[in-house]
């Protein structure tokens, strides 16, 4: 019994996971998860995907699809990118001239060029991209409530948690926000138990360490052990509590926390300083670069879902930080900013991550996803920049069984609308679950016990194999 409770913090035996909730779970409602399993023909679809892990590189702010991977060199001038195209490792495929290193690894990427939804604001669009579900309104300050859908990583933790002793889902190095915290980063109605482990420290800091895994300065491991010994004596005093699920649940967490504090495996996974300097330099000594390196370390150690946020804010006006929201406001200019900040950081890091995964034999079992909450207006605005465009944009997928060099869907002449094979964010979510071998039709239950499929869409299976 205790054993299984300890297990559940990392590796959920479903029945126990339901029971750890304690008395509240003793009601007469059929536990959601088992029902989900029964109804949808199984959570796991063996053979549907090769991926064991996902690295989700979320490009907050919304990168321009028509200035990166879906360039339209023949479009009329008012649409056409100011950048030139260059050839890539895939015959006939070109990308932006400012992504020369990325161009060399395009044979590892599959692209979906017709991702679309209807949300024009960052928070509502961000939530859509992070969950695959559109909110009821296109709300610039969409409030993060339990009504909304959980993050991908939380769904994975709920349905198919990892078995490595590490958290299933880890997110860093920021929580993203635009005026208010962007929904879709947490477990929402699945329960806090399934929140990703958040790290808000910068992996590029010399003293980077996991705050959760650090004891206060005056509390040594030995002192904690002494405290725990006293705690254990107190806990032995009340016999009727021993067997209670609530007490056992708490005990299990103390065990788990202590073992994490003392775990060499976990320390090692998060100890980025163990990487040789050459590797650290190769990824780039930036927050994003080192975050991607940390992502690789975590995947290597068995973390199932890693989310790396490119920037904490939508940005777009600075040449030294921030996200991809390049409107050209305040006399800034997209075409000047991107080559100074977003492109170099991306081009320094993304291909290195892909090659490193490949070299280590991890690429086949790791799905890498690269996209933002929307693309940008095909027509160049009066600031010689571009505004929000959710009607058609590009997602990059690599590894995890994705056929490298493939392109699914095509946008029209100027990149404004899908020309063929449109893909919704629900389809995109289904594709990710498919890659992980999770049945996208699996139902989870919200706070009102309503059954909701984890993905409202169909996997783009054409990208695989």
């Amino acid at each position: 019994m205790i054993r299984s409770l300890i297990d559940q913090a990392t590796r959920i035996n479903r029945r126990d996971a339901l029971r750890i909730g304690g008395p509240g779970m003793l009601g007469l409602t059929l536990p959601a998860l088992l029902q989900a399993e029964e109804q949808s023909g199984g959570v796991l679809l063996p053979g549907s995907g090769k991926a064991k892990s996902v690295i989700f590189l979320f490009q907050w702010g919304g990168p321009s699809h028509v200035d990166t991977f879906d360039m339209k060199p023949d479009a009329p001038e008012e649409y056409r990118s100011k950048y030139r195209t260059i050839r890539t490792s895939v015959p006939g495929m070109s990308v932006c001239e400012h992504l020369p290193e990325t161009a060399k690894v395009m044979h590892h990427f599959g692209q979906i060029r017709t991702v679309h939804h209807t949300m024009n604001n960052h928070n509502s669009a961000g939530y859509t991209a992070l969950t695959g579900v559109e909110p009821p309104t296109d709300d610039q300050r969409l409030r993060d409530s339990l009504d909304l859908f959980p993050a991908f990583g939380s769904v994975v933790d709920y349905l198919a948690p990892g078995s490595s002793g590490l958290p299933t889902s880890v997110a860093f190095p920021y929580t993203i926000a635009d005026g208010s915290i962007t929904p879709g980063q947490r477990a929402s109605f699945l329960g806090r138990l399934h929140d990703p482990l958040f790290i808000s420290n910068d992996p590029n800091d010399t003293n980077f360490r996991l705050p959760q895994l650090s004891l206060p300065s005056d509390v040594s491991w030995e002192r904690l052990q002494n405290r725990r010994a006293l705690q254990s004596i107190i806990n032995q005093q009340v016999q009727s509590l021993d067997q209670s699920m609530t007490a056992q649940g708490l005990d299990a967490y103390y065990e788990k926390a202590a073992s994490m504090l003392n775990s060499r495996q976990i320390r090692k996974a998060f100890d980025i300083s163990q990487e040789p300097d050459a590797i650290r330099d190769a990824y780039g000594r930036t927050t994003y670069g080192q975050s991607c390196l940390l992502a690789r370390r975590l995947v290597e150690s068995g973390v199932k879902f890693v989310t790396v946020y490119f920037a904490p804010s939508i940005g777009g006006r600075s040449k030294t930080d921030g996200g991809w929201d390049t409107h050209g406001f305040d006399d800034t200019r997209m075409y000047e900013i991107l080559p100074e900040w977003h492109f170099p950081v991306t081009d320094h890091t993304l291909p290195v991550l892909i090659n490193d995964l490949k070299l280590r034999g991890l690429l086949d079992e790791t799905l890498v996803m690269w996209f933002g909450e929307f693309g940008r207006t095909p027509k160049i605005n009066k600031n010689i920049s571009r505004d929000h465009w959710p009607k058609c944009y590009t997602a990059l997928l690599a590894g995890g069984g994705v056929r490298g060099g493939s392109v699914y869907g095509a946008s029209d002449r100027v990149g404004a609308f899908p020309d063929r094979d449109p893909v919704t964010t629900g389809d995109l979510a289904a594709t990710m679950y498919h890659a992980l071998g999770i049945n996208p039709a699996t139902e989870i239950r919200d706070n009102l016990n309503r059954p909701l499929p984890i993905a409202r869409g169909k996997a783009v299976t054409e990208l695989f194999g």
Binding site: G21, P23, G24, L26, L28, T29, L34, S40, G41, P136, D139, R141, R143, D144, S145, L146, D147, F149, A177, G179, R192, D195, Q212, L215, P216, D218, V219, R223, N226, R227, R228, A229, L230, Q231, N235, Q237, V238, Q239, S240, L241, Q243, S244, M245, T246, A247, L250, D251, Y253, Y254, K256, A257, A258, E443, N447, L448, N449, R450, P451, L452, P453
Partner: protein, 751 residues
């Protein structure tokens, strides 16, 4: 509600049309009735479930209405849609409709039927007959009767046969067991196609039997074999014990004994005030030899200021008292009004109806903040149904509620009560002009004389409908376009009426749940026929008592608290039936506020909360600083509360408060800033007492009293002495002891 209909993957606007009659039954030589048999097969075989072809997108290009809500559309789909190969008239056995569920061709949903099944035979005969629609005037189902409705089964017997008879509009009846879908609320009960329910272990379950648009709940109780069972229970203190103990006797479950004084003291203090008993309270209570000392303590606590704080906290959670939408003044006046209502013991029906009828300035008429927080008719309607009537009406927005009686007519008819609320925004000095949820300034909640919620199926203004017990609307209200003086006053009258049994039962159940951690109907806002109370007689008695005493919350609480059921001890054995039927007190973790106030009182250091003066207790906080708002930065105390499950108050649901333990909480208790800063705070109990030369063991005693309401045991005493010797530094060793107390199950769990 933010997850809308299409997310449920249900067919929008599916209305169960009043069917114009079909033959109820068909002999073997007649073709089967589409409405009464084929549709039932599609449900029984699971074809029209939300995860299969009942999905909004269908599956494999084949889409049915969810759970057969729209037979007409399904008839069209099966007989007239383009993919005719689903049905091959010339050779019925070639029809995909037959081959797929038999898995004769690949079927993602697997094999659902066998050749010899009744379901297969019905589909086959229907195809053979040329897929006929039912003749005009055929009989439709009026009701179903399930037998038995209730059964107690004692192991080693472990099964019960259910039979279902349907009555049709032509007066005929027929056994439809084979065509009925059975669903068990317990995982331990399986029901086969013939209606035989089998339990794998003792448990209680509600089985929902569903045939076409009719569903009926059946109660099955599978109990352990105990030939020598002798019922023993504490004395019956009042009607609550009578109702609980008689159910337990029937189920052959013995309740535990009445708990000891310390357990009772801590339990009742936490439940009524959210606070641990002080050392003085503990001493006085334990020393008293009065026979009625528990009753006296209950009365004292019910009369205390802390009781009002704690009730205000509970209701502020449900009424969305948060500062982004209400602003600071709004939070303050609304919270103040809630608290005062409890301080003055305002009858709960009036308290709720006051909010329904509220209009005027949100600064001057506090109850109007109820509407200030709920900006659309639908939000108001859903919140009012959930809070006051225990109805989760949200599902009925887009389609008839799949597990309840509510229809879209109910949804829009109820919503229309709230359609004419408007806001005069006197001032809005919001700091984030892009944030439409933020309001800073006074508003006037007004009733306009125009505007209606339209029923999407008719396109016309929805008739007003109360959510009554029978589901019937008041005919006068339905026919009247706009009943005088205004809709919401009318609604308020209806809500507060002693005849409104649904309101009374919902609130009585909420009060029960506050004290026991779980409702007789659970979740507390999910009253429906398919989720019946665990002890229906008890809920009825509580409801009657509540109404008879003018919706007096303290009165009902007093009766519950004085029952021996409330005062039962915990048990080292956790039995599901015993826990479900209140035969034992089930421990639960302290809430966020209880835990933090407890920590503060043990260490004698206040926590810091944004926007509140130092020394404010967590249970006294008016609003919520959740970090989701850039202008109300959470302080260290606010962050702790959020981590431990304090709700953001963006929903009208108890479920928004989380009591589940998480690893992050444990890390906070081990290495988090709040605990460690408090342990090291120069003004904390440890350091102050040491400065006053109090002997360390005396300080240990104080810590024990504050944290656990008891002195250390002999075992603990010797362990502590040993630890103090080893550590040598009294500050450090006392910090360690305080840490251990605050992290002990005895401290963190209400039992």
């Amino acid at each position: 509600m933010m997850i809308s209909c299409r997310d449920c993957n249900l067919l929008g606007l599916a209305l169960l049309l009043c069917l114009s009659g079909f033959t109820a039954s068909a002999g073997a030589d007649e073709s089967p009735s589409f409405q009464n048999e084929v549709m039932a097969v599609l449900s029984k075989a699971g074809c029209n479930r939300g995860t299969c072809h009942g999905n909004a997108n269908g599956k494999g290009g084949f889409r049915l209405s969810l759970r057969g809500q729209n037979p007409e559309a399904d008839f069209q789909t099966l007989t007239h849609s383009a993919a005719q190969r689903r049905i091959t008239a010339l050779n019925p056995d070639d029809s995909l409709l037959l081959k797929k569920p038999l898995m004769q061709v690949p079927h993602e949903g697997g094999q659902q039927l066998t050749m010899d099944s009744v379901e297969h035979q019905i589909l086959r005969r229907w195809i053979e007959a040329g897929t006929p629609d039912d003749p005009a005037g055929s009989a439709s189902v009026i009701s179903i009767r399930v037998s038995p409705m209730h059964r107690l089964v004692e192991f080693p017997l472990n099964s019960a046969q259910l039979t279902v008879n349907a009555t049709f509009s032509d007066g005929s009846t027929r056994d439809v067991t084979a065509l009925t879908v059975f669903e068990s609320s317990s995982l331990h009960v399986e029901i086969d196609r013939s209606g035989l329910a089998t339990a794998s272990r003792p448990c209680l379950t509600t089985v929902t039997a569903r045939y076409l648009n009719q569903q009926v709940p059946v109660r099955l109780e599978f109990i352990a074999h105990q030939p020598d069972f002798a019922f023993t229970a504490p004395p019956v203190a009042n009607f609550i014990d009578e109702a609980v103990f008689s159910q337990l006797q029937r189920l052959k479950v013995n309740p535990t004994a009445v708990c000891d004084d310390i357990t009772f003291l801590r339990r009742v203090c936490l439940d009524l005030t959210g606070l641990l008993p002080s050392a003085q309270q503990t001493q006085a209570f334990l020393q008293s030899t009065a026979a009625d000392k528990r009753a006296k303590l209950i009365d004292e606590l019910l009369a205390s200021d802390s009781f009002n704080d704690f009730q205000a906290l509970r209701w502020a959670d449900l009424l969305r008292v948060e500062d982004k939408t209400l602003d600071e003044t709004g939070v303050s006046v609304f919270h103040g009004w809630i608290r005062t209502s409890f301080a003055e013991n305002r009858p709960l029906n009036d308290f709720c109806a006051d909010m329904i009828e509220a209009k005027g300035s949100t600064y001057k008429v506090p109850a109007t903040n109820f509407y200030r927080a709920l900006r659309t008719s639908e939000e108001r309607a859903e919140a009012a149904a959930q809070l006051f009537l225990g109805v989760r009406l949200q599902c009925a927005k887009c389609h008839n509620h799949p597990f309840d009686q509510w229809t879209q007519d109910d949804y829009y008819g109820w919503s229309n009560f709230f359609a004419r609320i408007d806001y005069e925004i006197v001032e809005n000095k919001r700091r984030d002009s892009n944030d439409k949820h933020e309001f800073a300034g006074e508003q006037i909640v007004k009733i306009t004389d125009k505007g209606d919620v339209r029923n999407p199926t008719t396109g016309k203004p929805a008739s007003l409908r109360f959510l009554g017990n029978s589901g019937d609307a008041d005919p006068e209200a339905v026919t009247a376009g706009d009943p005088a003086p205004d809709r919401l006053q009318r609604l308020g009258e209806w809500l507060r009426s002693p005849d409104n049994e649904r309101f009374a039962a919902t609130q009585a159940n909420r009060i029960w749940a506050q004290l026991f951690g779980r409702g007789l109907v659970d979740p507390v806002d999910d009253f429906r026929t398919t989720n019946p109370p665990v002890n229906p007689e008890l809920l009825t008695l509580l409801t009657q008592e509540f109404v008879a005493h003018d919706f007096d919350v303290r009165h009902l609480m007093r009766i519950i608290l004085n029952s021996n059921t409330y005062q039962l001890a915990g048990s080292s054995e956790e039995d599901e039936i015993a826990a479900t039927c209140f035969a034992v007190t089930v421990p639960r973790r302290l809430t966020a506020e209880q835990a933090l106030d407890g920590i503060c009182s043990v260490l004698n250091v206040p926590a810091a909360f944004g926007g509140h003066p130092q020394g404010t207790k967590a249970v006294q906080l008016t609003g919520v600083r959740n970090g989701g708002h850039r202008y109300s930065k959470p302080d260290v105390g606010d962050r702790f509360l959020k981590l431990f499950g304090k709700p953001n108050r963006l929903q009208s649901c108890e479920c928004e408060r989380s009591g589940e333990p998480t690893l992050a909480q444990t890390f906070e208790m081990i290495s988090g800033e709040l605990i460690n800063e408090m342990l090291k705070n120069p003004g904390n109990r440890i350091r102050l007492q040491l400065a006053e030369k109090t002997p360390p063991m005396e300080i240990v005693s104080q810590l024990y009293q504050a944290a656990l309401s008891r002195p250390p045991s002999a075992d603990e005493q010797s362990a502590i002495e040993k630890h103090m010797q080893q550590t040598a530094d009294p500050v450090r060793s006392l910090e360690d002891i305080a840490w251990a107390l605050l992290n002990s199950n005895e401290f963190l769990i209400r039992r």
